[in-house]
């Protein structure tokens, strides 16, 4: 598939889960394609990074379900911060582990999962819809019932995949990408390189096969498709470009220039503009 075809299957108002973590292995080529579409009014579920920032800046998010948004080496995501400070979207602010258990509940087709996390914190206050459950066993513990985070669609980026949707990560952390795909009615994977199924285990063990094709509906080959987030071991985070993104995000005029230069064309144009950016920096 192409990124455009993936986005063609998304609709305004959907709940979309985005894999990766912070500024790490985010499906940025798919997010950029989403930005070029007119899909909007989204509920986004994410361990947030620049995916959240870009979609927030473009006004595509109606509701965000997240525990944070960060660029890792830059602690605060500037567009996320600015959007929150103008109350641009509704926020369901959950703890990191609550997110994990909400996705897990969705995978298991359960309405909720009981967790200790959240009790006594303002996560309960700012999410008045959250309920607690009492253990039916002798301990009678009262725990938070984290509701299932069922998704209409999931977008993730991996190192390798075959054309059938078997996805492989080669970096140190799977993040929660398989949970996102299994919690979703449809899941789309972009990858650095599509390979033959027989090639998947040429240089790596079977435990790197994170995604099963039964839970994947489309595969997009998108080299450097996580840019500017990291996609170890294929590439590290592009810190210089991330810094440029942060600087641009802090000033409306600079952000218009950034958008015109990097986000107005297709993915090929983006990658060419990034190469030119580094050519200038190196000159």
């Amino acid at each position: 598939m192409t990124a455009e075809e993936v986005v063609g299957r998304l609709r305004s108002g959907m709940t979309i889960g985005i894999g990766g973590w912070g500024s790490r292995r985010k499906p940025m080529a798919l997010v950029r394609a989403l930005l070029r579409s007119d899909v909007t009014d989204l509920t986004v579920v994410s361990y947030g990074g620049p995916d959240v920032g870009l979609l927030a800046a473009a006004g595509r998010i109606r509701k965000l379900v997240a525990a944070f948004a960060t660029l890792d080496s830059v602690p605060l995501e500037p567009h996320f911060g600015a959007a929150r400070q103008r109350a641009a979207f509704e926020l369901v602010e959950l703890d990191e582990a609550m997110m994990m258990w909400g996705l897990t509940a969705a995978v298991h087709r359960l309405p909720f999962m009981p967790v200790r996390a959240g009790l006594a914190s303002d996560v309960m206050t700012v999410n008045p819809e959250l309920r607690t459950v009492t253990s039916p066993y002798g301990d009678r513990e009262e725990l938070v019932a984290v509701p299932a985070l069922r998704l209409d669609a999931a977008l993730v980026h991996l190192n390798r995949a075959d054309a059938h949707g078997n996805g492989q990560y080669l970096g140190p952390d799977p993040y929660f990408d398989d949970l996102f795909c299994e919690a979703a009615d449809t899941a789309y994977v972009s990858c650095e390189r599509i390979v033959e199924t027989s090639e998947l285990l040429k240089d790596a063990g079977p435990q790197t096969l994170l995604l099963k094709r039964a839970f994947v509906d489309g595969v997009v080959e998108a080299p450097n498709g996580a840019h500017f987030t990291s996609c170890a071991p294929d590439h590290e985070r592009d810190e210089a470009f991330q810094r440029h993104y942060v600087d641009a995000a802090r000033d409306p005029e600079a952000w218009r220039e950034f958008t015109a230069r990097f986000l107005s064309g297709g993915e090929d144009a983006y990658q060419a503009a990034v190469a030119a950016f580094h050519g200038e920096a190196g000159a």
Binding site: T70, Q85, A97, R116, G118, D122, F176
Partner: protein, 257 residues
């Protein structure tokens, strides 16, 4: 230069490192979860000296088997701890994390989410992150590199990390594994070892006065009659900090001299 007289010349940052290291004394075989440079140096110092059983991470998904300098790659990897296993490990209790705090109140409630009204914050910060799961499941200490009334406030704007009063009000499920052993700042070491579980000054870093701490704290702090000074680093500890763990002096960027 001989190593014996360096003790008297320890910097404030080095006192902070030693105070952080002490948080993991007698911790046993658990994961040290330092957030921030000084706690990271402290955890590594603890492992190199009095707490050799500690587990350390590379800051990503690996448990490291040696103690490299801060910022250097590990030479030995002894385990794998991706985020989802890390979150699960928290609930086993086999971790003592030292988090940052944008705001902290006298009961130990911590905020890293936002400043001002949550609906429309004056300043959006990181978000609640893992503070709720941390504080209810494993010991959670705090590191504040710049002790000020803006951090130590009467009421935090959003309770992310749970304090003693909130845990008690929520009941036994919340208090069962809840513990805040230490708050360490550039001025001193604090705990909640009072009958009403409010913040108490445990030690002052040398050169700091009680009045200074009181002026930098936005609530009435419990101050015992006698307040000791934070212990001096030993000559060997200073050598480890300066030559092996933090040869680039990153600690001085986090703590003013």
């Amino acid at each position: 230069m001989s190593g014996t007289d360096t003790t008297t010349t320890a910097t404030r940052a080095e006192y902070c490192v030693v105070a952080c290291a002490e948080a993991w004394r007698d911790a046993g075989e658990i994961l040290a979860g330092p957030m921030g440079t000084v706690p990271m140096i402290g955890a590594r110092l603890a492992k190199r000296t009095f707490s050799p059983d500690l587990l350390l991470t590379d800051g990503e998904a690996l448990l490291i088997g040696d103690v490299p300098a801060v910022g250097a790659a590990p030479g030995v990897v002894e385990g794998w701890l991706p985020y989802r296993q890390h979150l699960a490990l928290v609930t086993t209790g086999r971790r003592h994390v030292m988090m940052g705090a944008s705001q902290l109140d006298r009961h130990g409630n911590q905020n890293i989410s936002c400043i001002g009204d949550w609906e429309r914050p004056r300043r959006q910060l990181l978000g609640v992150r893992g503070a709720p799961v941390n504080t209810l499941n494993n010991p959670t200490s705090y590191w504040v590199p710049r002790h000020s009334p803006r951090v130590f406030v009467e009421r935090v704007d959003m309770v992310c990390g749970v304090g003693y009063d909130r845990a008690a009000a929520a009941g036994p499920s919340a208090t069962r594994y809840h513990r805040i052993p230490d708050v360490i700042t550039d001025l001193g070491v604090f705990d909640f070892e009072t009958p009403d579980r409010t913040m108490r000054l445990r030690s002052l870093h040398p050169g700091v006065t009680v009045d200074e701490v009181r002026a930098a704290t936005g609530f009435a702090l419990h101050v015992p009659g006698e307040v000791p000074y934070t212990r001096d680093p030993s000559a060997e500890e200073l050598r480890l900090i300066r030559e092996e763990i933090d040869p680039r002096g990153l600690r001085d960027r986090e703590v003013r001299a």
